[in-house]
């Protein structure tokens, strides 16, 4: 008896602790720090940097973690970034948002706006003249360059619709596959900024069908874009697959859209929410390419490993810590809740799967909730047929229940027989009525 106790005790302790106890875990749990805006912003460049900063500024007041200083920091950095560019529309927006809170140097600089606008007018005229000249000369390459320049110009000034149109017009003048790819990339960039992800998907397909092989960086960029489009369309499984196929050579080459940390986060979370265990192991944990990305966000790596090794409490704790920062992400904002729910449900289902009976008290401990809450969640999952089990509410135990195939088959057979009986009888009756009716009508006609 004693010998058994000795060997059993560590195992049962392990099950009970479930990665919850501080002294048991081998890896420290890092709390998600409050977002370091400077570090975050340095990952991006171009217009997306401004948009992300503005998004953070808008949303961080909603969060409990957010504080006014974070908001003002974001706005200040946005202002600085816009000043480097030529987008007067955004400048006006930011200035209005700052509302003078950051001092005189951060007010609406009308002089700067006017200068930029005037310069824009001049440049536009110049570009138009050039383009007309090229068009009369009918030199394909120059016309393409002209439209491209137009597209770049509009993009810099925030007129995204016109930029999109200009880029699309270059399509007729593309001669090599390199041109096509360049055109696709520009269109993809503008579409992402506009939020029209259907275009993104179609142009990604177009680019991938280009006759020449793509260099790895472009291929990686296209994968990321496709992943983003799927994410927006709530197709989390496809998004996960796309992100996982991204080549680590991406690095910071796609910083106008996405940072490698984002690839890791989006890919990891979507995979966790939608993949089953085998896929999770083969495509995420054993994926050498993706490991490079995961190194950049150790929390996500830890949480995936915890989930796989059934340390649900720590996994959910990581998720909770990351939540605040994820809600400030421009692409993930709308999907955080859904993904979190899906991950939690998967954790619950996975926990109950190997057991014939589960003590609800232990399970509540493992998931750090109360037994009543847990019972409600389990009830919802059972009604939804995701867990095959029944709850013994008196003793607080969950019993696995496997449908008796034999009885079910008998029941179905008898039911089918009865239905056939009923249907054929009423059908015969109806056909008799129709025949009678038809006869009567026929006789009347005669």
């Amino acid at each position: 008896m004693d010998a058994d106790d000795d060997t059993c005790a560590p195992i049962t302790d392990e099950i009970r602790a479930n990665g919850g106890g501080e002294q048991r875990t081998r890896r420290p749990i890092i709390s998600g720090d409050q977002l370091d805006i400077e570090a975050y912003a340095s990952l991006y460049s171009g217009r997306t940097k401004i948009m992300r900063l503005l998004f953070i500024a808008d949303h961080c007041s909603d969060e409990k973690i957010g504080n006014p200083s974070m908001k003002l920091d974001a706005l200040r950095m946005a202002y600085d970034e816009i000043k480097k560019g030529e987008n007067t529309q955004l400048m006006r927006e930011v200035a209005q948002k700052i509302n003078g809170r950051l001092g005189p140097s951060y007010e609406l600089d009308s002089a700067w706006c006017d200068t930029v606008d005037r310069r824009a007018e001049q440049k536009k005229e110049k570009l138009e003249n050039e383009l007309n000249a090229y068009r009369t000369n009918l030199i394909k390459e120059s016309i393409r360059m002209g439209y491209n320049d137009f597209g770049d110009f509009y993009y810099a000034h925030g007129q995204l619709g016109d930029a999109f149109k200009s880029y699309v017009r270059t399509r007729d003048y593309c001669t090599t596959s390199k041109h096509i790819v360049h055109m696709c990339m520009s269109v993809i960039l503008v579409s992402i900024e506009m939020g029209q992800f259907t275009h993104v998907t179609s142009y990604v397909n177009k680019a991938e069908q280009a006759p020449d092989a793509l260099d790895p960086i472009t291929a990686a960029k296209l994968r990321c874009a496709a992943g983003l489009a799927n994410l927006e369309a709530k197709k989390y499984k496809l998004a996960a697959r796309k992100f996982l196929e991204t080549n680590p050579e991406l690095g910071s080459h796609f910083s106008e859209v996405i940072a490698p940390q984002d690839v890791a986060t989006y890919g990891g979370l979507c995979a966790l929410a939608t993949f089953d265990r085998t896929e999770l192991k083969s495509k995420v944990i054993d994926n050498l390419n993706f490991r490079n990305f995961l190194e950049l966000v150790p929390e996500v790596r830890e949480l995936i490993n915890d989930f796989y090794s059934s340390h649900y409490a720590s996994c959910l704790q990581y998720l909770g810590n990351l939540k605040a920062n994820l809600l400030l992400d421009i692409h993930l904002h709308d999907h955080v809740e859904t993904l979190y729910d899906q991950i939690r449900h998967k954790a619950l289902i996975q926990y109950t799967l190997p057991f014939v009976s589960v003590d609800l008290n232990m399970m509540a401990n493992a998931f750090k909730t109360t037994v009543a809450e847990l019972q409600k969640e389990l009830e919802a999952l059972i009604t939804d047929n995701q867990i095959q089990a029944r709850i013994d509410s008196h003793n607080k135990i969950l019993y696995a229940r496997h449908a008796d195939q034999r009885n079910a088959t008998f029941q179905r057979v008898l039911e089918t027989g009865r239905e056939f009986d009923r249907d054929v009888r009423s059908m015969l009756l109806r056909s008799n009525l129709v025949k009678h009716d038809y006869n009567v009508r026929h006789l009347r006609k005669l």
């Binding site: 509410s393 027989g417 009986d421 054929v424 015969l428 009756l429 009525l433 026929h442």
Partner: protein, 425 residues
Amino acid sequence: MDPLEALVAQIQGLSSTPGDIARLHVILKQADDSLRSESTRLSSVLAQLAPSEHSLGFLYVLDAFTSGQISKQQAETTVPIITGFINACNAEQIRLAPEKFVLVCKRLKDQVMMLEAPIRSVGPLFTAARKLQLSTEHLTPLHSDFLLLCLLAKCYKTGLSILEDGIFEVDQPRDLFLYCYYGGMICIGLKRFQKALDLLHNVVTAPMSSLNAIAVEAYKKYILVSLIHHGQWQISTSLPKYASSVAQRSLKNFCQHYIELANSYGTEKIAELEAYVQTNTEKFENDNNLGLVKQVVLSMYKRNIQRLTQTYLTLSLQDIANTVQLNSPKEAEMHVLQMIQDGEIYATINQRDGMVRFLEDPEQYKTCEMIEHIDSSIQRIMALSRKLSAMDEQISCDQLYLSKVGRERQRYDFDDFDVPTKFNI
């Protein structure tokens, strides 16, 4: 000789062989008017004839006798005569004059209703229906009258026995509608909801060229019984494609309240359902459906409790009361007890702990009775499918069908048949 007396003599004389009876029939048809004019003397005539041998003659005389207006006192005397006749008459003879027989029975029904004793004619009409039927699958106009009297007299079981026969042949669609409607009501009274549903389904999906009131009433009951039995009703899946287009389009317009009731049932909130019933009590009462509606509300509690059996192994009465939105554990216990007694769930109540333990269906499908049941079902269904193929063959040989189909058939290719075009239909 007095024409009446001559007629009586002929009846008595020509009632033995089928050939004689045919002649008698002709004579009686001719004498029909004269019989009606002499209605006062007919009671003595009736005394001279024996209903079992001279059934046809008796029938004609009886018809003439009862054709006028009959007062309550007279009804007292005529009812026994008619019931005596029905019990004693010869089935083949009366089948020669079915309309007269039906007419006589209908008058019986009217008289009995006038006397307010419908039960007096339940037995006789049952015999009458059986005698008039050509086979057990044949529907006569008497069936619907019989069922109506059963409903009024509350003799549901007798009504049920006639409903057990499957009906396949129908003379008049209107008979079928009434038969199925009353039959449905009898089954509801006996709580055989599946059978009621089948009968009402027949009414609602029967071919009809224009909407009739029977179908509308039947549809209302159909919705309610469907809620009680199946626990769901969706307007989109309500009427199958083979229902007549008239029905599909217009039935819903007349049953708006019931459809709203069904929608509120679908939301699974008992409070809403009860509120809706409260506000519309009058309308339901006008349709005489209030009792059914109350059963619908009750069935919602049952359904919620049944859902709990899928999720829980044991549950406290307090929790049941909370989940199913009942007022107290005592009420929950009453409901669960009732359901266990009705065989709708399998459970045991532990009063000491206030717990209910839900059990699996103990049926193991291993007993001899179950094997016999399955075997007989198989036989029944095989017979039914034989009938179906027989009917299919019969229709494909039917002259009317062939002429209609032939006209619309595609012209054959020249390669199919080497037939000159002038011989095609």
